[in-house]
């Protein structure tokens, strides 16, 4: 699965003539994927601004729970970074603990987002239907799509967790955890952007 041509064995790293500059293809592909996610959310937040300028815009308070969720996801980034450093120092135990904590914090975040939706509904801010307004629908789309990406991140964490139990993640084999950390930090950053965006626009 996901067969990547091993460039190291292919090139033999000879310097004649120069081998073009390159990075790990999988990591590079992950960055490209992140670019596409940025473009999706860029498009949605731009649409938000354009639509807001048209008027007929429902104003409401953001659920307080979002602040709690923000702290949770920030903390999860820290724990993942801690497990990354642990892997670098071959401290396999801490690595496992770190990923496991991150995994549960991730799930907690998604549940928290769901309760934030409930709070929105109780405030009378609906996703669809005759009493909904695009300002509310946008919040559901932005948070929902972010949560969907976060779920993909949680699945990624699960893979790395399983790999760490099989002793496949250590200082000589960092690609998995590096990519996982990159993606997770990105999702964290994306949430900070979205949350800041919503605060500034409400």
């Amino acid at each position: 699965m996901g067969q990547i041509i091993d460039i190291k064995s292919d090139s033999s790293l000879s310097n004649f003539p120069e081998r073009p500059l390159s990075m790990h293809p999988k990591k590079f592909a992950l960055w490209l994927f992140i670019c596409t996610v940025i473009m999706i959310f860029g498009a949605l937040t731009s649409a938000f601004i354009v639509r807001k300028a048209d008027g007929n815009w429902l104003e409401f308070e953001l659920p307080v729970l979002l602040w709690v969720n923000t702290i949770i996801i920030l903390f999860s980034s820290a724990t993942l970074q801690w497990s990354y450093f642990s892997a670098k120092r071959d401290n396999i135990n801490n690595l496992k603990i770190g990923i496991a904590i991150t995994f549960f914090l991730g799930i907690l975040f998604v549940i928290g987002q769901f309760y934030a939706w409930k709070e929105l509904v109780s405030m009378g801010v609906y996703f669809g239907g005759s009493s909904s307004n695009p300002s509310g629908s946008f919040i559901y789309v932005l948070t929902g799509l972010h949560a969907l990406h976060l779920v993909s991140g949680i699945i990624f964490l699960l893979f790395v967790l399983v790999a760490s139990f099989q002793y496949k993640v250590h200082s000589k084999n960092m690609v998995r955890i590096e990519m996982c950390a990159t993606y997770w930090h990105f999702l964290d950053f994306l949430w900070i952007y979205l949350f800041g965006f919503l605060i500034l626009n409400n």
Partner: protein, 612 residues
């Protein structure tokens, strides 16, 4: 071609490096769920040709209505069934045909068929890689495309008809089934299909970019890459940045259609009754759509331009004129393509000042485009031109690119656009500059790389016949449409005989329809040639066009892994044609300067071998 091997020592690992590829793969692994970029490219090509026949055939159906508004079409009943009512084409089905023709041609033929075929086939071969960065994702990309194709194909046959709101699917037309039957299930399937298509494009694009950046062979610096590689590279970047935006737009439209949100739907009354939607902005959809839609034009065109650069240089036996100018102009076009989208929306009531800015940015695109046209012509200038069918199609592309591009300058003018918007002038413009030009690029590519794909040659005589009928035919179809458009004749109208000002164009429309039928029929010469030559064509020599690029250093029928031994090293750019002093009129990229002392320029010496 063996020179590269003699200069650099064999590495110990190359022998066993690809041993696992010689294991027998099952039929399914080899031809269906293949991870080999060459097989995937052919899968894209077959699918593209199939869709082109479908999409082109649809245009004939609505050309029949336009060219012969009074004709009895009962004889089409076996094919179209209830879509023929009392000998006439059903007006709603006419709209569906127009929509499907656009969708199929733009996305399935000229995006997937063109980029999918040639990016997959040529990137590893021309940069010197064994395969794509991820063969698995590449396979996934094709099968997402196949799934998307299947859904789109099924949608054509459902009772309420396929999507009918135009390929641009503007809401509210596309959001409300009350507007047109196709906006019901047909539109749902359209959106589902396009979602999979976007996934397929992104997977493909990520792979193309990663491969070009990371897997180039030794010596293949960016400025030694053939222009095809640059074109595919830039195309993939444009796709990566613009398709997610279409995804976002489609997502919001799905919510509007099925979940009762009102992103794009303002207060709408049908039969005096208000719908539940309130407060949406249909113009917002147009912004999101055209943010993809305009770059999409270049996603379609740039690969064709890259292919043309390669073919024209090879068959003029001259270095491409202005190699770096070609790259810079493509980068400039790519950049500009993202900031001109609102020129599709001049008449939506946007601020005229904003319109002026978009007009200004749009007209700037003429500069890099003119650089490209100029460079093609100067490459041809005083070359030893060899008129292969591929070369003829490439020159045809340049012709369409110029004649269609000129009308772009007229349309880009926000004042002139008030008269010309949504008329046949627009249809003529983009069918020449984007449709026909890209189509010719694709066909040129097939003629040029067929020997590498199938190890056999296409028949040249049939190629010449195909070219001349197509070239003349396309001008006969699209040139008259300019006049119809200037007269104000709107596109997508089922019937024009009801208006006084358009009645006088009946004969011209008949002429266009006949030309379209002939042009379409001529494509079957190509289809025949293509299928026949796969099995019975003349066997291809290893380098039939005496070309410099790396793909011709592989065996005639390359296995998985492309090169049996070591991957050749690159020592020079791809355009050393007719170099003064050289014994032959071409020097492939893998020949070191030490072996061409008689033709080297002063600074051309091999890098010093080290650490060996």
């Amino acid at each position: 071609m063996e020179l590269a091997h003699s200069t650099s020592a064999h590495h110990h690992h190359t022998e066993h490096d690809h041993d696992h590829d010689h294991e027998e793969l099952s039929f399914i692994q080899k031809w269906i769920f293949s991870e080999d970029h060459k097989v995937i490219a052919k899968q894209y090509l077959f699918m593209g040709i199939l869709w082109a026949i479908f999409g082109g055939g649809m245009s004939l159906l609505f050309r029949l209505q336009l060219g012969f508004p009074n004709a009895k079409l009962d004889w089409l009943q076996p094919l179209l069934g209830d879509w023929i009512k009392e000998g006439k084409l059903d007006p709603e089905f006419y709209l569906a045909l127009v929509t499907m023709h656009g969708t199929i041609m733009v996305f399935f033929v000229l995006t997937a068929g063109l980029s999918g075929t040639f990016s997959n086939f040529l990137i590893p071969l021309q940069i010197g890689a064994r395969d794509m960065a991820s063969g698995f994702l590449n396979m996934l990309s094709f099968w997402f495309f196949a799934l998307s194709s299947a859904i789109m194909m099924v949608s054509i046959f459902i009772e309420t008809g396929p999507a009918s709101g135009g390929w641009v699917i503007y809401p509210p037309l596309s959001a409300l089934p009350q507007a047109v039957g196709g906006s019901g299930l047909g539109m749902t399937m359209w959106l589902t299909s396009m979602a999979f298509f976007i996934v397929s494009s992104l997977l493909g694009g990520i792979n193309y970019i990663t491969t070009i950046i990371n897997l180039r062979t030794k010596g293949m610096s960016f400025f030694r890459m053939p222009l095809t590689m640059w074109a595919f590279f830039i195309t993939a970047i444009i796709g990566l940045l613009s398709f997610p935006v279409l995804f976002a737009a489609a997502l919001l439209l799905i919510f509007d259609r099925s979940f009762g949100t009102s992103f794009f739907l303002a207060d709408i009354y049908i039969g005096g009754e208000a719908l539940q939607h309130t407060g949406g902005s249909p113009i917002l959809f147009q912004h999101l759509f055209w943010f993809l839609g305009h770059p999409e034009v270049y996603i379609v065109l740039l690969p064709a331009l890259g292919i043309t650069s390669e073919i024209i240089a090879t068959n003029s036996r001259k270095p491409i004129f202005g190699y770096k100018a070609m790259i810079l102009s493509m980068l400039a076009i790519a950049f500009l393509s993202f900031i001109v989208w609102a020129h599709h929306m001049f008449v939506t009531g946007m601020n005229p000042f904003l319109g002026t800015i978009f007009m200004f940015l749009t007209l700037i695109i003429a500069v890099p485009s003119a650089v490209k046209a100029f460079n093609y012509i100067t490459t041809l200038w005083r070359g030893n031109i060899i008129f292969t069918p591929a070369m003829l199609f490439s020159i045809g592309l340049v012709s369409f690119f110029i004649s269609g591009g000129l009308t772009g300058i007229i349309l880009g003018n926000s004042a002139a656009d008030i008269q010309l918007h949504d008329t046949y002038f627009v249809v003529a413009h983009f069918h020449l500059v984007m449709g026909s030009a890209s189509f010719f690029g694709m066909v040129a590519g097939v003629y040029h790389w067929f020997p590498k794909m199938f190890g056999r040659m296409l028949d040249e005589t049939l190629g010449y016949i195909h070219f001349w009928i197509s070239f003349v035919g396309i001008y006969m179809v699209f040139f008259p449409l300019h006049y119809i458009g200037i007269a104000g004749f709107p596109r997508r109208y089922y019937s024009f005989t009801g208006f006084d000002f358009t009645k006088s164009f009946t004969d011209l429309n008949t002429f266009v329809s006949i030309a379209a039928i002939i042009t379409f029929a001529a494509q079957f010469i190509f289809v025949f040639n293509f299928i026949y030559s796969i099995f019975k064509g003349r066997r291809a020599p290893s380098n039939p066009w005496k070309s410099n690029t790396l793909e011709w250093t592989t065996p005639i029928n390359p296995e998985h892994g492309n090169w049996p031994g070591e991957i050749p090293t690159v020592y020079r750019w791809a355009y050393d044609y007719s170099k003064p002093g050289a014994s032959e009129d071409f020097i492939p990229q893998n020949i070191p300067y030490s072996e061409t002392k008689e033709s080297n320029f002063e600074n051309e010496v091999d890098p010093i071998e080290s650490k060996h």
